[in-house]
């Protein structure tokens, strides 16, 4: 090899090192830009999202995310949700965390948009896809914990009890799944349900006209609505309420023994993990994961135990 060639190679190597180190030096000074991510959940200002919001904010801080939680009321149709998602994409969102609804066009839209924007589905139990990540509520475990609490309290006498089931909306994936699992359980136990209600309108009338021993509320909204109905009818001592959900109100009335038992997801984890996942998807593209979050069964007797008070009363940081 000639001298000229050696020198050229050495010069080239040193020049590349020089350019690389200069770039690294300058890029070390430039702060990392935050990535815009939007969050779309139904009734986003409701207290029930507080823990999830805190989890998201914590993750946003750790992962350099500019978080935009969209203010919404009830998102009952795919059309409204899709319209909001399209708007956020146009406004430059690199990723969207959202709660899907069971409506026509939803799945097709996710498949279409998921190829260009990172998507994380939360609060749902739909089948994992190849274009999005999901942080799933483990509905089977939720229902299992709820029925265990029923059995522990009533034992064999559960057969004799009159039971009603209520949910806030009929179209959510998670609620449909929970209802089906619960009905399967009662069918297996040969317990017939007194009533099933797919919304919370005129719930007090139903409770008054067709009183039951146990009301099972399948989500936080229906749990809070049932609390209101029982307090209004002064039936809080006569009717036991087993609710799924989490809000300051629900926890307060758990402490006041209006709610007999509360089964809830670790929403803080759900919020944190959803933002963590979306950051990974934005950075690495093909990292799509489907995770399930833990759930807890909490009664008045154990709500102040160290493990549970951290879940029920999150530290605001």
């Amino acid at each position: 090899m000639s001298n000229r060639r050696y020198i050229t190679i050495l010069f080239s190597v040193l020049f590349i090192v020089l350019v690389f180190s200069s770039y690294q030096m300058l890029s070390g000074i430039t702060p990392e830009e935050k990535v815009p991510v939007s969050v779309i959940v139904s009734d986003s200002t409701n207290d029930r999202w507080n823990a999830m919001r805190e989890g998201m904010e914590q993750a946003a801080q750790n992962y350099q995310i500019s978080l935009n939680i969209i203010s919404t009321e009830n998102l009952s149709s795919a059309k409204d949700l899709i319209s909001l998602m399209r708007r956020e994409i146009e406004l430059g969102a690199k990723g969207i965390v959202f709660e899907p609804v069971d409506d026509r066009g939803m799945v097709e839209f996710i498949e279409e948009v998921g190829r260009s924007v990172s998507l994380v589905l939360i609060q749902s139990d739909i089948e994992p896809g190849d274009v999005y990540s999901s942080v799933l509520t483990d509905d089977a475990t939720l229902i299992s914990q709820l029925t265990t609490a029923l059995e522990e309290k009533y034992g064999e006498k559960l057969m004799e009890k009159k039971i009603g089931i209520v949910q806030s909306v009929p179209y959510q994936f998670a609620l449909k799944q929970r209802k089906k699992l619960l009905e399967d359980y009662f069918r297996e136990k040969e317990i017939s349900l007194s009533w099933r209600k797919n919304n919370i309108y005129f719930l007090s009338d139903l409770v008054e006209q067709d009183p039951v021993d146990i009301i099972i509320a399948l989500d936080n909204i229906s749990t809070e609505a049932t609390i209101d109905s029982l307090l209004e009818l002064k039936k809080e001592k006569k009717t036991d309420l087993f609710g799924i959900g989490y809000s300051e109100k629900a926890v307060y009335y758990l402490d006041r023994q209006v709610v007999d038992h509360l089964v809830l997801n670790n929403d803080f984890n759900m919020g944190y993990m959803s933002i963590e996942n979306i950051r990974k998807m934005i950075d690495y593209g093909n990292q799509k994961t489907n995770q399930r979050i833990d759930s807890y069964s909490i009664g008045e007797e154990n709500m102040y135990e160290e493990e549970y008070q951290k879940i029920l009363f999150p530290l605001v940081q």
Binding site: M1, S2, N3, Y6, I7, L10, F11, L14, F15, V17, L18, S21, S22, Q24, M25, G28, I29, E54, G55, Q58, E248, K249, V251, Y252, D255, Q257, N266, F268, N269, Y272, M273, E300, Y304, E306, Q309, K310, I311, L312, F313, P314, L315, Q317
Partner: protein, 613 residues
């Protein structure tokens, strides 16, 4: 001859232990060797320097970070101690100024308690006093307790009554004994102590509870953490239970882990650890009275941003220095090897044969000496070479002369014998003709001493010779010349056709008894000339033909005594190995001898030395 001494001569011993450059002797040029050797030495030196500098700087930064962390811990510890001292002061005030002065059977302490609460409500959530059976005496700001409040089961209550002389600080918890009508809940750290109460004149025990607002401590630590770009501080009690951590919710949710159970066993000071594959500096400070520990974590990876930038700054600096050094190395190596390269180039020219070119003399004294020596050597070599060539030429010429001299006496004897015979037979005309032909033949034979003549003269010589021989042999054969005029201007070694004709006469004419024919044909093919002498004589077997031109198997000859081998050798000596005679013979049919020559136009100057391929 002048003997010059080299500027430095290495002894054998020195050679044995001589330092060798990395690329020496691997076929590289000296310039490459010098450049690369010094570049590698420069790179190694700079790398060594970089590592040393970086380590020094890194250690310095780590020391600074550690000092900084310890300062932060000292400051935070002082703030926390002041805060806790203030809480104890509230407790003392409540106890010694209010509780000890009151009889709970007769009077209420609500006003005093409210005043104390109002004065410190930013830091307090509740103040309450209980009998030792768990009954609430009074509390502010919420006056009632919940129906299901299990006061006697609360750790702060039991601890206070077990160790009555001490203050007891709880870990953070949600206060759950008071009947709060709002949905709000409070995280508190409970400060409890056993108190002596007077009730209707009788002394009894009770518990004074001060619920400190956890958010005050949280804010205190948050403000410190917000100022830190990298790393964080956290607080734990003397059992390793975390009181404050910037990622407390993540720890509760098991999304983050802390090495608190190890840290709680450590004494005050700083140490390094690897936790979850992260190198970090841990500083520990114990808070007085409570035994709580404040821990400061500084990741070593970032020890910190300053080191990151410095690392690349050093690399950039070193790259610039190395580039400069490389340029300097190149310049120095060119300076050193330039004269050597010039010398090498001049030697190459000499080797190529341009003898008169000068060898380069210049550069340093060593190179100049080398140049002079080489010049002298080259000069001597050239002289030797010239001398050798001259000797060779002379040798060849003498050999040619010897060969030619083999022709003359024999032929002359025969010719003169024929002339004598003619004179004796009174054939004077024929004798005159013979003498004329002989004279012409000798004139051409002499050719002013030239060894190369034109083909035209050589053919004329052949004709003269054949005319003489025809007389001698009394027309026993016929001679035919078929010559392409184009070849007449070519060059040929003198007297090469005549010996072949002589052989043809002997083997053809003498044996054919009047029917002998000799055909002399000359033609040109591309750049070659072929002159064929063909007879119809006895011919030869193939094995005889094969050895005709072999010197060791020379066939015994008659006639002039000059064999074909001599002719063949003369042609090859003059024109090269590619040329010479081609013999073809068939027994009883005849023999063809073909002279193969290059076509070289004949000029006077070609006649001696230059006609050589």
């Amino acid at each position: 001859m002048n003997q010059k001494k080299a500027p430095s001569i290495q002894s054998k011993k020195e050679k044995k232990y001589r330092f060798r450059f990395p690329f020496e002797g691997s076929g590289q040029s000296i310039q490459t060797t010098i450049t690369l050797s010094f570049s590698i030495l420069t790179i190694l030196g700079m790398l060594f320097l970089t590592v040393i500098l970086y380590n020094l700087f890194n250690n310095r930064m780590e020391e600074k970070e550690t000092q900084n962390a310890e300062q932060i811990l000292d400051q935070t510890s002082m703030n926390l101690e002041n805060y806790l001292k203030n809480m104890r002061l509230i407790s003392d005030t409540m106890y010694y100024s209010v509780i000890k002065e009151s009889d709970f059977g007769r009077e209420s302490i609500d006003n005093e308690m409210n005043l104390l609460y109002d004065a410190n409500k930013d830091n307090l959530v509740n103040i309450a006093c209980f009998y030792n059976n768990g009954d609430l005496i009074t509390s502010v700001p919420i006056a009632t307790e919940k129906n299901n409040a299990k006061v006697k089961e609360q750790p702060w209550f039991t601890n206070a009554l077990v160790e009555m002389e001490n203050f007891h600080f709880s870990t953070p918890h949600v206060q759950n004994i008071f009947d709060n009508t709002t949905y709000r809940y409070y995280w508190v750290i409970s400060l409890s102590r056993a108190v002596e109460l007077t009730r209707n004149g009788k002394s009894t025990l009770g518990v004074l509870l001060i619920d400190m607002n956890y958010s005050s401590i949280e804010q205190m630590f948050d403000s410190v953490n917000e100022e830190r770009q990298e790393g964080y501080i956290y607080l734990m009690d003397n059992n390793g239970e975390i009181i404050y951590h910037p990622k407390q919710n993540l720890i509760y949710s098991q999304l983050f882990e802390e090495n608190n159970l190890y840290h709680v066993k450590q004494k005050d000071g700083s140490f390094e650890e690897v936790f979850q594959e992260e190198n970090r500096i841990v500083s520990v400070k114990t808070v007085s009275y409570t035994g709580w520990k404040i821990i400061c974590i500084t990741p070593k990876t970032s020890s910190a941003v300053g080191v990151y930038n410095t690392r690349y700054f050093l690399v950039t600096l070193i790259a610039v220095i190395m580039l400069t050094m490389l340029l300097l190395n190149q310049l120095i190596s060119i300076r050193i090897t330039g004269p050597l390269k010039k010398l090498t180039d001049s030697i190459q020219i000499t080797d190529n044969g341009t003898i008169d070119q000068d060898i380069y003399i210049g550069g340093g004294s060593e190179v100049e000496y080398l140049g002079n020596t080489l010049k002298e050597t080259a000069h001597k070599l050239r002289e030797l070479n010239d001398s050798f060539l001259q000797e060779q030429e002379e040798k060849r010429k003498s050999e040619l002369d010897a060969l030619q001299s083999q022709i003359n006496p024999h032929f002359l004897y025969n010719a003169l014998d024929s002339i004598v015979w003619m004179i004796e037979g009174e054939q004077y005309k024929d004798a005159v003709f013979m003498i004329t032909q002989l004279a012409s033949l000798f004139r051409i034979s002499l050719s002013k001493g030239k060894s190369v003549i034109s083909i035209e003269d050589e053919l004329k010589h052949a004709k003269n010779y054949m005319n003489i021989q025809k007389v001698r042999y009394k027309d026993k054969f016929e001679v035919f010349f078929h010559i392409d005029p184009e070849i007449l201007s070519g060059s040929i070694v003198k007297l090469v056709i005549q010996p072949i004709l002589e052989n043809a006469i002997y083997y053809a004419a003498e044996t054919m008894d009047g029917d002998g024919e000799i055909h002399i044909t000359g033609r040109k093919e591309q750049d070659d000339v072929f002159i064929e002498i063909k007879d119809n004589g006895l011919g030869m077997p193939e094995e005889t033909v094969k050895v005709l031109l072999t010197e060791n198997n020379r066939v015994h000859k008659k006639g002039s005594g000059v064999g074909l081998i001599n002719v063949h050798k003369r042609i090859q000596l003059r024109f090269g190995e590619a040329y010479g005679l081609i013999i073809d013979s068939i027994p009883d049919e005849g023999t063809s001898v073909e002279i193969h020559l290059p076509y070289v136009p004949y000029q006077e100057k070609n006649s001696e030395k230059e006609v050589r391929l």
